[in-house]
Assembly symmetry: C2
Amino acid sequence: MRITALAGGIGGSRFLRGLLRAIPDAEVTVVGNTADDITLHGLHVSPDLDTVMYTLGDGVEESQGWGRRGDTSAVADELAAYGAEPRWFTLGDRDIATHLLRTRMLTAGYPLSAVTEALCDRWRPGVRLLPMTDDRVETHVVVAGDGDGQERAIHFQEWWVRLHAKVPARRIVLVGIEQAKPAPGVLDAVAAADVIVLPPSNPVVSIGPILSVPGVRDAVTVAGAPVVGLSPIIGGAPVRGMADAALTAIGVPTSAAGVAELFADLLDGWLVDSTDADAVPAVEAAGIRCRAAPLLMTDVDAAAAMARAALDLAEEVRAR
Amino acid sequence: MRITALAGGIGGSRFLRGLLRAIPDAEVTVVGNTADDITLHGLHVSPDLDTVMYTLGDGVEESQGWGRRGDTSAVADELAAYGAEPRWFTLGDRDIATHLLRTRMLTAGYPLSAVTEALCDRWRPGVRLLPMTDDRVETHVVVAGDGDGQERAIHFQEWWVRLHAKVPARRIVLVGIEQAKPAPGVLDAVAAADVIVLPPSNPVVSIGPILSVPGVRDAVTVAGAPVVGLSPIIGGAPVRGMADAALTAIGVPTSAAGVAELFADLLDGWLVDSTDADAVPAVEAAGIRCRAAPLLMTDVDAAAAMARAALDLAEEVRAR
């Protein structure tokens, strides 16, 4: 079975790990979000791609869901001793090796997709991992200025990591998105899929940018395969992260039904958590088959059960 | 007293540390060799500048004479796990922070001299440290090819670190030297010096490149200050490193007198080790005032005594 998933970082990775546990022989292509990418200390960091790679390659620091297992911070401590900015994003030592390789290959002229493939040669994540685009796209968040009344746009990571998404986002801007082209293989993977999955990733800043790459949303919409998604919102709050702040910025209610509506044009099926079963009728009224199931990824088995539920829903849609 | 020194890495740094101990209020400018510089994993590494900076800034790993004290190798281990080349040059984690900052600033357009000054803001080495040039110069070593009879030129670091200088060097080539300009301040520091010192650094690949930057050798020759040097060769062998292999490559005998002859056009005074006292007449016959003194830098005090002997010799020359 060919499954194509559009995935962000932690939530997407944990779901994908469950998917591989549930369907070991599935042929999975992951289209990863790269709009969170950021240049730090001259290094090209791709947080979401790395989280997928480390998680599926059994190298992730489980306690935080990102970064390398057991990583140290000798480089970061030394950069701090130099007074190097920014200080609000700490890169682990092992993680830096990944960024050094990526940056070196990008500087040498390789596209990010080729770099990602080379890095995956080591990690063998069990999926084909594609960046959404080889072009540079950056999510910027427009916030109120400091006292002077002027708005300013900051990199998503600064808003997320430094400001903990506590400063209200007035708008979210995907810098470079109009010029971006889907990376090689992305449209083919969407067109050839038996099932297209939207894991419980951040709908605004993870799945949103992927679908915003010109051509991707259309490809998903016209694809023959069922498109099923899993709500990242449970009981009116994000399972993790600060997805509510991002949803508020684009005027979408923080609810399982609200996110379904955001993707209404392309969703065939939507899974909500058991506690949100009351949202099912509203989602179905929008023409999306909706089922309730436990959506807390407490462990890999729980994630595998979610994957099975999503694929069952896809079958149900297909048989309709 | 204004002292200008042309220095390589370990030998130069240890001598300079002794010099600062001997004459704490000296105004010392160090013109550092940058022809050993190498790009590793996309990072601009300046081994000699860093060795001076770390040694005089009390951050050096004393046991090896270079690198950061107590450094770890998490990044290098991880790069090795990726199979990243080269494997023969291991960068420590703390050291990598220095290279990240340097590379970032160079990429942003700052010249190496400005970068070096910025790094020294933290290390406060007690000297003004200038790269010999802001232009890229690389020492390459021409060696016999592997079986095919074709010569090949390899970076000095590959010859030195990977091959341990055991493959005979046919020629030593300073790539880019003709186009190099002395870094800002270098010629002024030579012209304004009360004493010009050649520490016991490698005469071929450390002091040689500095003097080969167009304009530097002439400036040293015409400077009013006495030029005194210390032999890096004791008893026919280099004190450390593999200076003999480099000397052989340029046809200079591995002896205290041989090195003096290499610098005969600019030397006013030359210190040889006590065990090489028999070389004094030959050096003096070449018009260079020569004295014998203990030249083993067993500790900082020994290096300080060497510095005092060098400055005494400079006074002797000046009074002549």
